[in-house]
Symmetry: C2
Subunit: 323 residues, 2 copies
């Protein structure tokens, strides 16, 4: 029988499926599609497949040792790295899908402007059907940004801020290697020195042991009182209690969190009522944007060709690093 | 006695005043500053001045025939053009201040993203402390924009949309003259032909007899149902009743109005409750942004040098055209 690919995803259009079919045919694979309500069928099929394209921990755990490549359609793959035992085959390749940069960057620009232009407060005014215009606002132009993470997301954010005239964009990454669209990139070990001069802090980090609680209570205290914090990476990257206290006591000007701990946030969680906090239910990188889905499928098909030809996979994840 | 300048403004910092003092000194003028609570003092002083830098119709009406230049600190000067009798001196020069492009463009980018990313709906979810992630969103990237007005505001909007990957940006202006950052500029007479293929319509027009009700009920009906309308020009440019009906009946996807008729909007006005409408209380070009104030003062000082030297004023308004 031919080599099999099991696809278990919710966002594929007929055009996406045709594109995957074609890529499979060209590389000698047969492909089997399942919707999210067909878990049992997908599991049965997976027993005879060597490739899985999905984002499901339970399904991966049910895979046989003959699974050789798991393509996760999400960017964040920390849950697959923390527990190596999820792979029956220890040599199984793991790739992630890093094409969320455009949609997450648009989210970051949106919430940055909402914070700088005092939208939460103006929305409260409008909600009362009243009229008030005197809140002092700030601008992306001439402002100073620090972006934690210089990957696909951080780079897309930096490009957009640059295009809107940001005065200085500092990137922080593990390596500190220079990157286009950043005025400077520093190693993340220099974070403490950058925080006091940060006006807007954008956090776009994967969840790894190193990034957990990286914006600790002590570091939140290093930010100036006019600073805004925006997190689109993982909720574990910051101390939520300390952030809530800093907001409520005016030690920080405001924040926008698209990721938090836990998700969904329980209805009585104090974060819901923190002062000047824009909360969104983990939608910044949502697969509800067609373009993001297109890129996701493109990346899978490109790496399928690489896989079939024995070339290295572009989106290969180092499971010990977690990204 | 020396030639006098009367300045009656609320937004000047000590640095701005020093800058104006210096420009006045260099050109042989003496300058007199008044806060908005000093109307009577300003009026008395104005009787001996040839230049007024303000945004106040009542004060202008109290000016003597010897007033030779009124520099309005606002961009919209329609109220001074509709009634020529406000100028005791029919030859009095009128300039406006067109430096609002940056702040208004940032407002436009913000509300565009809020509409495309369904923020009014997500905010309603968050307000209930609940969790829902399935709303389909759209992106500035690959989208098609029509901008009414290719002046300072329209150009700043186009630059930012271009930087975020907009697929096509059509400008419409009186002349239809090509302009940087627009894919094409058409004469405003071709509006009807452009509306059916418009995804996001940005209105940044001055208030003139020609622009009044330019987005009429008939033209609103030409927009596709997925279209968004954003107005940062003047409230009179669109048919508010027709817009409200189109929103409530899902003939239009949404809108964002920063200008409306009347302002302030009365507490019982139907616009407050229109479906998927982002209302802001005329703050897109607010003087609460320091940069906008800096540009305003720079422009006045530059034109003061022109005025003193007998050169043409850069921001001169044609009172018959209204801009």
């Amino acid at each position: 029988m031919s080599r099999g690919i099991c696809v278990y995803l919710e966002f594929l259009t007929p055009a996406h499926k045709a594109q995957i079919e074609k890529a499979a045919q060209e590389t000698g694979f047969s492909v089997h599609f399942f919707d999210l309500d067909q878990f049992e069928e997908a599991r049965a099929c997976l027993q005879h497949c060597e490739v899985l394209y999905a984002h499901d921990l339970a399904l991966l755990k049910a895979a046989p040792p003959s699974l050789r490549w798991y393509c996760c359609s999400f960017a964040g793959v920390d849950i697959y790295c923390k527990a190596p035992s999820v792979f029956a085959n220890p040599q199984c390749l793991l790739t992630n899908s890093s094409g969320y940069g455009v949609t997450i960057a648009e989210h970051v620009v949106m919430v940055t402007l909402m914070l700088l232009r005092r939208m939460p407060e103006y929305e409260a005014v409008v909600c009362q059907h009243s009229w008030s215009r005197q809140l002092s606002i700030r601008s992306i132009r001439d402002n100073e940004f620090t972006i934690l993470g210089t990957g696909n997301i951080g780079t897309n954010v930096a490009q957009r801020l640059r295009g809107m005239g940001a005065a200085r964009i500092t990137g922080l990454s593990r390596s500190g290697r220079p990157a286009a669209d950043f005025d400077r990139v520093l190693p993340i070990s220099r974070l403490d020195e950058v925080l006091p001069e940060t006006k807007i802090l954008v956090m776009a980090l994967p969840s790894t042991p190193e990034t957990e609680n990286i914006l600790s209570r002590q570091r939140i205290a290093l930010l100036p009182p006019e600073a805004y914090v925006i997190n689109v990476g993982r909720g574990t990257a910051l101390d939520q209690d300390a952030l809530t206290e800093a907001l409520n006591s005016h030690q920080l000007a405001g924040a926008a969190l698209d990721v938090m701990v836990p998700e969904p946030l329980p209805p009585d969680h104090p974060l819901w009522n923190a002062r000047n906090l824009i909360l969104t239910p983990h939608v910044s990188g949502n697969m509800t944007l067609g373009y993001t889905c297109d890129v996701n499928v493109d990346m899978f098909c490109r790496d399928l060709a690489n896989y079939a030809a024995g070339r290295p996979l572009v989106n290969l994840v180092d499971r010990t690093l977690g990204y």
